[in-house]
Symmetry: C2
Subunit: 341 residues, 2 copies
């Protein structure tokens, strides 16, 4: 592997000059610069980022730690982050935890060892002490998709409580009285918040007696949704909910798929509303009503906030950036004449 020394020898200059060509080209006489650049090309010299980082202290990598890298919601957020990275010539680590706190912890450890410039995280466990320790090391952390973080963290998110409220209010307006909530695990803030908002809306709508029909899931994937579908169908028709609010679109798509396969009419027999408004929601068997988040914007804002914090260093005022969720009504909750239970 050729080093900066090899280049210097080849070009007949000192390594200091080569370094200048790489980092401050304008401070080198053009003719010298040309010589050095020719040597770099000929020897196929590639800068060693470890050595650079070791000395310069500033890494070129950000990391985004997510619950599920296969969830289109997160890939869209990642796209927003990636855009900022490109503008700043940074590189993005995408780390998938699958909602496993242990994996998440291990990733955080590795990222700390890498001395990444900053970490964006949608965490399975926000109480992980390592998260604090990492900030203690001077690595900025921004919480993504979290509305009400503790005040001493930078975070971006949407008002998930409002989102849950919107969803249930919509279903009630459509005439539903027996409504289920599907999602989990309840350890996830997003799920808790959406559920809480749903609960409030249900109370406000006078559904206290029949609410909630809780369907807690292990995760937020399509297969989890299919299992919810199975559980729903096991409920005797007379008591079965007429609508289900799913904590995200993957669950909703799973439910939808299972119900349709078993001849249930959506929304006639069962209305479904999801959350995130991923691209596939509109293309579903029955176009899915969903609560939309500004995914791309979320990612951009988070990345910008992170870089700002990285620049400002210690004396940085943590800030919170909140967006409002929005209902996108489609066929899966189309109006019906429901006669109550």
């Amino acid at each position: 592997m050729t080093s900066i020394q090899d280049v210097a020898d080849d070009a007949g200059v000192s390594i200091g000059t080569v370094s200048n060509v790489l980092n401050r080209p304008d401070q080198v006489r053009p003719s010298t610069r040309a010589k050095v650049e020719a040597s770099i090309g000929r020897l196929r010299y590639v800068r060693n980022e470890s050595a650079r980082l070791l000395r310069a202290g500033s890494s070129k990598t950000l990391a985004y730690v997510v619950l599920d890298a296969a969830n289109p919601f997160f890939t869209d957020v990642a796209r927003g982050i990636d855009q900022v990275c490109r503008e700043q010539d940074l590189i993005l680590f995408l780390c998938n935890t699958d909602q496993d706190a242990a994996r998440e912890d291990r990733y955080l450890e590795l990222l700390a060892e890498q001395r990444v410039r900053g970490i964006l995280i949608t965490a399975a466990n926000y109480d992980n002490p390592r998260l604090h320790a990492i900030r203690g090391m001077g690595i900025p952390v921004v919480l993504v998709d979290r509305a009400h973080g503790p005040k001493d963290w930078c975070c971006v998110g949407v008002q998930d409580v409002d989102g849950g409220h919107i969803a249930i209010a919509h279903l009630i307006a459509q005439g539903h009285r027996r409504i289920a909530f599907a999602g989990g695990p309840m350890e996830l803030t997003q799920v808790r918040d959406r559920h809480q908002g749903a609960l409030r809306a249900a109370r406000a709508g006078g559904l206290a007696a029949t609410w909630p029909t809780l369907m807690i899931t292990d995760g937020l994937t399509v297969p989890d949704g299919r299992r919810v579908g199975e559980r729903l169908l096991r409920i005797p028709n007379a008591r079965r909910p007429t609508a289900v609010f799913c904590a995200n679109d993957l669950i909703a798509l799973g439910v939808l798929q299972h119900l349709i396969q078993h001849g249930v009419d959506v929304p006639g027999d069962m209305a479904i509303i999801g959350y995130d408004d991923i691209e596939f929601a509109a293309a579903a068997a029955v176009p899915l009503t969903s609560v939309a988040q500004p995914r791309h914007q979320l990612g951009r804002a988070a990345a910008e906030m992170l870089l700002e914090e990285a620049q400002q260093g210690v004396h940085h005022a943590h800030q919170e950036k909140l967006y409002a969720p929005e209902l996108v009504a489609r066929a899966s909750t189309a109006n019906r004449r429901h006669t109550g239970s």
Copy 2:
């Protein structure tokens, strides 16, 4: 930031001993080890991976460079890779190029600077000289999702030519004579191969006169698919294809969505077949027939191949691992009585 020296001082030992505790704990007396570990905990020492890499030469990171990180196909492949990474305690860079050769090149440069242990790539441009240069540096590269790479590269993939053949043969068997091919750009090997297989099947089926109705797209995303839908509808009914083979499922879903919105009966008026069999294909408005690839297995095999090459070093025999595509027939190509044109 606390260094290994701080830990050594705190524990009253030398840095060599601390290093031994970290890397060869069994060679250190338990009592000493305990002391050192206590200091590490107290001082919140975190190993500096740059320094480690600089000396030890072996990185803990792999990178997967993909055309579209939001495409479920790639996230599923990534999941297979990730699994291997976890087993080996490695960390995975996911790099999204959006089919842009310039971005891809920049990513490769950054990854080379990082001295990653290896690179898995589904490339926009396989002729990029940097790809060769990187291998010249001793960084192994495995081509993912590529069947017929040059013989001096490790690669895993499926027989895309066969896949294209299967798709068209299926449509012909269903009675279709006017068939369109949708996908692009043609620079992508996958698209070219699938198209070529389709062409062969069409010839074999005696469709030479009416084939192809080519609908080249800029990319392989859902919006690209919607635009194909628009173009299809602009064709006068008498000449309009009765079936369309899409180079991937995202295109197919986009086409499907657009056609349904405009009252076209699928598969009655237009059959659709996709490629990849992503999870959302089965949950689509009309469940999508698709050509399945062993996505997860593809990822695993690629990662294992990469690590093998990394271990064996220079004298390594490049290998090719090919899988067979499989037709998954669903409603979007359900049988019809087509009377030809």
